[in-house]
């Protein structure tokens, strides 16, 4: 059905959030007094006026069918006068004014397969990226790994028994769209083989100087192949960052040998300790679809060792800093390799430049 031609609308920006705020929020905007997590997945915010807002947080796989969004809309209609929001970590929150509706709302969500939790000292949703579902750059799948890891860590989503919040993030390549560089545990897709160049298509598809200068280590060099201008890769200089691939469609980096690495100890908040980067724990695990058993086992191990040893309020990185990295590797039984020692631009900043460490009293 053809619609009548209208003036093209552009640059209007998003609709104002004010259209979507429930009355209780409009009334108490900026006047909340305190909050309490009344049970896993349920926040109660109390306002200066005494008003109370209950937020029920449910997991989503982020990748959502329109029908699922319609389901959430219907649940919101049933329990929250139609008001809901999403969180910065892809959970959905139902904004309830009437305390009596909290439990029925939870029951409904669980029934539909969207569990409630991820609050307080728990493991909440994994921030993640596209993987094999959509991105050309992916060294691994995203949603699949996330699903398997969360299936295993599920009890930590539904409870609040960890020493502190534990944030997991996932990115399928070194571009790190999942911003895994500051997470308690980060999973990162990695390529481990140098790029392969299609010399045939390259002259037409790529700007050679851009491609050469894209490489941070100078591993991409101009070359003439079969009389045509192209580039070649100095393999020893490649650290598989994929930057040449990003700027040149004739370069291929994806390879069945791709896999994942595991990083630990990052954080974003300023609470107690300044924000920290995640640090390398496991350099490489092969892709093992459909259930990625080694990744799952490795993450679970780290979570359990942390849960057992960290003190209350201690995020992963704070705990490791207190006990020292040698102890972390000892407790988790993860082997320490040359890959763990930084060798990029600022490598030297991570060297231990003191005698200030725990001497193990094991004889050499």
């Amino acid at each position: 059905m053809a619609e009548p031609k209208k003036k093209r609308i552009t640059d209007i920006g998003p609709p104002s959030y004010e259209n979507f705020l429930p009355p209780i929020i409009k009334k108490n905007y900026g006047k909340w007094k305190y909050h309490e997590i009344i049970k896993p997945g349920v926040l109660m915010h109390v306002s200066e006026s005494g008003d109370k807002l209950y937020s029920v947080r449910a997991a989503t796989p982020r990748l959502a069918a329109t029908d699922t969004i319609r389901l959430f809309a219907q649940i919101a209609d049933e329990f929250c006068d139609g008001f809901l929001r999403y969180t910065s970590r892809n959970n959905v929150e139902f904004l309830i004014t009437d305390e009596k509706k909290v439990e029925p709302c939870i029951a409904k969500l669980k029934k539909e397969g969207y569990p409630v939790g991820g609050m307080g000292n728990s493991i909440t949703n994994i921030v993640h990226t596209q993987g094999w579902v959509h991105c050309h750059s992916a060294a691994t799948d995203a949603s699949g790994v996330v699903k398997c890891v969360m299936d295993e860590l599920f009890p930590y989503f539904e409870s609040m028994k960890l020493p502190a919040k534990l944030r997991i993030a996932f990115a399928c390549c070194l571009n790190m769209c999942g911003a895994v560089h500051c997470s308690d545990i980060a999973l990162l897709g990695v390529h481990i083989k140098p790029p392969v160049v299609s010399h045939d298509t390259l002259p037409a598809q790529c700007e050679i100087p851009t491609t050469v200068s894209a490489c941070p280590t100078g591993a991409v060099r101009t070359a003439t192949v079969d009389g045509k201008p192209s580039v070649e890769i100095v393999e020893e200089q490649c650290m598989f960052c994929a930057n040449c691939f990003t700027v040149c469609p004739s370069i291929k980096l994806n390879n069945p040998t791709d896999g994942l690495s595991v990083w630990v100890g990052g954080k974003v908040s300023n609470a107690r300790h300044e924000p920290m980067f995640s640090k390398l724990a496991i350099p490489y695990i092969p892709n093992e679809p459909p259930r990625w058993p080694t990744v799952v086992k490795s993450v679970k191990n780290i979570v359990e060792v942390y849960a057992k040893n960290a003190r209350k309020f201690e995020r992963m990185g704070e705990w490791i800093e207190r006990i020292g990295w040698p102890k972390f590797f000892e407790l988790t039984e993860i082997p320490f390799t040359k890959y763990h020692i930084d060798d990029f631009t600022h490598a030297g900043e991570s060297f231990r430049r003191s005698v200030y460490f725990r001497q193990s009293d094991v004889r050499e």
Binding site: K6, Y17, G30, W32, R85, T345
Partner: protein, 398 residues
């Protein structure tokens, strides 16, 4: 009527387990009777995915330049490398739809968005993309413009991509958090509106992201993921309700859980009264987080502005660094806008291709950068003054 679902034994393994399954979501779309073309797309997506699971390799190719008229961004082009086998996902672009600040919705508006996407696309979404957009995943080239027309008619617009301002995002702030030191949602909305042109028509050396967090807990990871991070803070004394502290004293181990965890050890508790040496408080939030009923940020609130965080490509990841230690955040936010524009002017002129602002500052030097954008150097900008003696002394003055 939706086509028969493809056989996908490998990814069907991902239907199992307690965590909600994305495979189930794609299958819902593949079976969506309201959306015939879309369900065929989703069905092919299942096939592609199964194939990737078998071969441990992805099947997507570099995107080309696709988009809507007059915009330089908002759409990510994506093509499949097995178009014969999976014709319905031969082109399978994503549309980034700018979310409302704070990700608040009504059931009504969500249904209308779903109607648009069922009409034109695969029915698959991301709620939300990592930058904050509503992501419509799987659009054919021809469907882009009609989708856009319906979106704008509903009052929505595209988010950013390419070398442009990216969709700003924020924590829920004053809407639902007692710690918000400024109105994150209002600022985000205002900046998004003000910078529509910079958002839709890439004119920078590289992308530029804004993220607003209402307090140092930084619930949108602003310090790690934004070229300009605006993080709420305060500069007077933490508000204390001594009675409530006393209540906590019976539930918490005040000494172990709060006092000794203060990074500057500026608190003390004599069994009756909690004292804070506020001049030594670094606004870390821990004590407030631990006792939300008893403590609250001060009353003289505002934000710290930081610049330059980014993912590692290619010099290594950066966190944002302090550029304005404290600023009152008040509409119409002229100071923030002027600052952003001064930075963009300088960076647009002198930045290299694909050089983020954080890298640019490091290359030209913070001292030079400050001089150019007209800010005073302040010791709060550094962890410590320089330790290397390589000082570029000015030659034009003695």
């Amino acid at each position: 009527m939706a086509a028969k679902l493809r056989e996908t034994p490998l990814i069907d393994e991902l239907l199992k387990g307690p965590w909600p399954s994305f495979v189930k979501e794609i299958k819902k779309c593949a079976q969506n009777e309201k959306n015939e073309r879309g369900s065929a797309r989703s069905n092919d997506l299942l096939g592609v995915l199964e194939r990737s699971y078998k071969e441990t390799i992805g099947h997507w190719k570099h995107g080309g330049i696709v988009g809507v008229m007059g915009y330089g961004g908002g759409v990510i082009g994506r093509y499949n490398d097995l178009p014969e086998e999976f014709p319905n996902v031969a082109h399978f672009h994503t549309i980034r739809v700018n979310q409302p600040s704070g990700w608040f919705y009504t059931s009504d508006i969500l249904r209308k968005l779903c109607d648009i996407w069922d009409k034109h696309g695969s029915g698959i979404t991301n709620m939300h993309g990592s930058t904050g957009d509503i992501v419509f995943l799987g659009c054919a080239t021809d469907d882009l413009e009609p989708t856009f027309a319906d979106l704008t008619a509903l009052g929505f617009d595209l988010g950013g991509s390419g070398s442009a301002v990216r969709t700003p995002s924020c924590c829920c702030g004053m809407a639902r958090c007692e710690w918000a030191c400024y109105d994150t949602m209002a600022l985000t909305d205002d900046l998004t509106r003000t910078f529509q042109d910079e958002l839709h028509r890439p004119a920078f050396p590289y992308k530029f992201k804004f993220k607003m967090s209402g307090c140092p807990n930084d619930c949108v990871a602003s310090i790690a993921r934004a070229d300009m991070s605006i993080i709420g803070t305060w500069r007077d004394d933490i508000q204390i309700d001594q009675k409530a502290v006393a209540d906590y004293a019976s539930k918490l181990n005040l000494e172990n859980d709060v006092i000794s965890r203060c990074p500057t050890k500026c608190m003390s508790w004599d069994g009756k009264k909690l004292s804070i040496d506020n001049s030594n408080c670094v606004k870390c939030m821990h004590c407030i987080n631990a006792m939300p009923k008893a403590l609250a940020p001060g009353k003289d609130r505002g934000a710290t502005i930081l610049l330059g965080s980014k993912a590692p490509i290619i010099g290594g990841a950066l966190l944002s660094s302090v550029i304005v230690p404290f600023l009152k955040i008040e509409p119409p936010y002229e100071d923030i806008k002027e600052l952003a524009e001064a930075i963009w002017d300088l960076w647009a002129e002198h930045g290299k291709n694909r050089e983020r602002v954080g890298e640019f500052i490091q290359r030209i030097g913070m001292g030079n950068f400050l001089e150019q954008i007209g800010l005073e150097p302040r010791p709060e900008m550094v962890i410590n003054p320089r330790s290397n003696p390589y000082i570029f002394y000015d030659q034009d003055q003695e």
